[in-house]
């Protein structure tokens, strides 16, 4: 399969060892951070010949588990504080320096381990680039799929697996060589986001409605119909899962079952081994749509809260799109801004841990997010942490503030259809989520499935183009006349609203059918 020159790798390591011993004097350096709109307080950098050490950045807390350096990579701002300083990033890349960091990494992403090993010995600059963890993550996932045993970092995981005779216990080389005078916003940012803790002010705002013990009618009238989010308490009290689902129980129950984790499948035990150790910007997230089929006991230890039991996609039986997921992930894992597929509504129940939610209504695109015109793609190029760093502050001054909350174990959040949402786990979390269609949402869903570009937009099923026909016919078969009845009601309602708004316009132009205020 792969033939890697072990000699080259060990040469690299020996050199690293030497350099590491040279630079012993520690000194505290404060770094100036300029990351898009968030500018940290300016701090001085100290003279040369001193080792760089990351410290608590003004305004940012690093996780206590953060490695003490990112090979000494500094943000570009520091270069400008050091007149006369040369960026070893550039001198070490030679002609390649004209390319941005992302393009350099794109080229490196096409190389295998042996070439990366050789490149690491070419220059300090190449060394730093070839240490970029996502490169090694891709190699591990490509070659080992989900069958890897995570060992501290992706690079070490790869080496441990393919070069088992290589002695990885020689700790020092693998904590990394420090280089001086290497400035790169991209690489620094990447490291920072992997090791940043959530700032308290990102977690403070909690403006969602919270309800306990309301009736289904209440819920439908006040939240589902007006399409408004709500956090529901007390509707998981009867769940076996709440008391039973901890790590040991789940590992015992699920043993060798393979769960979907990003692009691969893994056993629970292997996933937890990874999630315990990982420090990265976008941790792999366990998100499995077939968990109840794979382990029926899991399906039996929870039940759909009473508010969400009307689910018209049921009429499709086994042909319904994916609709329920078990979600497990470490602190920092989550989903960046998106709208749920097929125009469905959703509920998300936290069994263990806690999640921070940010929600924007359908007509308000969150800052930093760029949906394509046809809606087929949503680009949110930044990771969750980076979004908080760069865009969260802006929402404070917006009139259209988002709805935010922290959802803890035992709580269920209702995500109305079409709402943008972002979720981040604040600690290791286990949750169940389901998407559903009720009568209130039926037309939206039918409209969505009918769209000409259904083949790209519709998700969770292999039969995208026909789903509209199938679903419509199945509804007619199981609930004859329902569609017509709902159509009539909708038309009546429209007529009513027109009337109302006319009278309102006479008396008070501000009132109307508008549902939300921010």
């Amino acid at each position: 399969m792969l033939s890697c020159s072990i000699t080259l790798l060990s040469q690299t390591l020996k050199r690293k060892g030497k350099r590491k011993r040279k630079t012993k004097t520690k000194n505290k350096i404060r770094t100036k951070l300029k990351i898009n709109k968030n500018v940290c307080k300016k701090q001085k950098s100290i003279a040369k010949n001193q080792q760089l050490e990351e410290e608590e950045e003004e305004g940012f807390n690093l996780k206590c588990s953060a490695p003490s350096n990112s090979h000494g990579v500094q943000p570009l701002g520091n270069l400008y504080l050091n007149p006369g300083s040369v960026n070893s990033r550039n001198t070490g890349l030679g002609n390649l320096q004209i390319l941005s960091d992302e393009l350099v990494l794109e080229i490196l992403g096409l190389l295998e381990c042996p070439q990366l090993g050789v490149l690491a010995t070419v220059s300090k600059s190449f060394y730093v680039f070839t240490c970029h963890e996502p490169l090694w993550r891709n190699l591990v996932l490509d070659y080992l799929r989900g069958g890897f045993s995570y060992n501290g970092s992706w690079k070490v995981t790869y080496i441990t697996n393919f070069y088992p005779s290589f002695d990885v216990s020689r700790g020092t080389p693998f904590s990394g060589l420090r280089v001086r005078d290497f400035y790169s916003d991209y690489l620094f940012q990447s490291w920072l986001c992997a090791n940043l803790e959530m700032k308290p002010e990102w977690l403070e705002r909690d403006n969602i409605d919270r309800k306990r013990g309301i009736s289904v009618d209440d819920f439908v009238m006040n939240f589902e119909e007006p399409n408004k989010p709500v956090l529901l308490e007390g509707c998981m009290d009867d769940w076996d899962a709440l008391g039973k689902w901890d790590r040991d129980y789940l590992i015992n129950l699920c043993s060798d079952v393979q769960f979907s984790v990003g692009p691969v499948k893994m056993r629970l035990k292997d996933y937890f081994n990874y999630s315990d150790q990982v420090k990265e910007e976008r941790p792999l997230y366990l998100f499995d749509p077939k968990f109840a089929e794979k382990v029926p006991t899991l399906g039996s230890e929870y039940e759909v809260p009473v508010y969400f039991r009307e689910d018209l996609f049921n009429v499709l039986g086994n042909e319904r799109p994916d609709y329920r997921w078990i979600i497990i992930g470490p602190a920092g894992s989550g989903s960046s801004f998106h709208i749920d597929p097929n125009s469905t509504s959703a509920w998300n129940a936290v069994i263990r841990g806690s999640k921070k939610w940010i929600l924007f209504p359908p007509d308000v695109v969150p800052p930093g997010v760029h949906p394509s015109p046809d809606g087929a793609e949503v680009a949110c190029p930044v990771s969750i942490v980076e979004w908080f760093m760069n865009f969260y502050g802006a929402t404070k001054n917006w009139k259209k503030k988002p709805i935010e909350c922290i959802c803890k174990a035992g709580e269920v959040i209702f995500v109305p259809n079409g709402w943008w949402h972002l979720v981040i786990n604040l600690e290791e979390s286990i949750a169940i989520t389901q998407n559903y269609v009720s009568r209130r949402n039926l037309f939206n869903v039918l409209d969505f499935l009918k769209k000409p570009n259904a083949s790209e937009l519709v998700s969770g099923t292999r039969d995208r183009i026909n789903l509209y026909e199938k679903f419509k016919n199945a509804i007619e078969a199981s609930f004859p006349g329902m569609i017509d009845e709902l159509m009539l009601k909708a038309e009546e309602k429209k007529a009513q609203e027109k009337k109302l708004s006319f009278w309102d316009s006479v008396t008070d132009w501000k009132a109307g059918a508008f549902k939300f205020s921010f």
Binding site: L8, T91, G92, L93, G94, N95, L96, I98, L99, S100, L103, E106, I107, L108, L110, L111, Q115, V118, L119, T121, V122, S123
Partner: protein, 126 residues
């Protein structure tokens, strides 16, 4: 009549392209009638346009022969001197032409493979 877009290179040369050709570049298609590219020389711009012209129509999904022929053309096209290649990557990235970025990056990666550290230093002029 289809829209034409004018591109202006860093050395002042003007190139006119059909809309169909420009469609492959997000930057081009979003521009007004004239797009100035202060970081792209006429030599590189000519190459970019040559690529886009060839790729106006993707071969049909089941037309293996056409796909192979296009691949061969690509491989021949991308066999450029190293500095040209890097300039091309930068220009294609700026113009958001994914296919060309991928093609050119693959070529650079190929040239790295098999070289020793010393050869790489020489190759990149480090």
């Amino acid at each position: 009549m289809s829209r034409k877009i004018t591109l202006k290179s860093s050395d002042g040369e003007l190139f006119e392209v059909d809309e169909a050709v420009a469609l492959q570049s997000e930057t081009m298609i979003e521009a007004d009638n004239i797009l100035t590219l202060p970081n792209v020389t006429s030599e590189i711009l000519a190459k970019v346009i040559e690529y886009c012209k060839m790729h106006v129509e993707s071969p049909e999904a089941d037309d293996r022969a056409a796909a192979d022929e296009l691949n061969r053309w690509d491989l021949d096209f991308i066999n450029l001197p190293d500095t040209t290649l890097l300039d091309l990557i930068r220009a294609a990235h700026h113009l958001k032409i994914k296919g060309l970025v991928d093609l050119a990056c693959s070529k650079v990666a190929d040239r790295i493979k098999g070289k020793t550290a010393e050869q790489i230093r020489e190759y990149f002029n480090i």
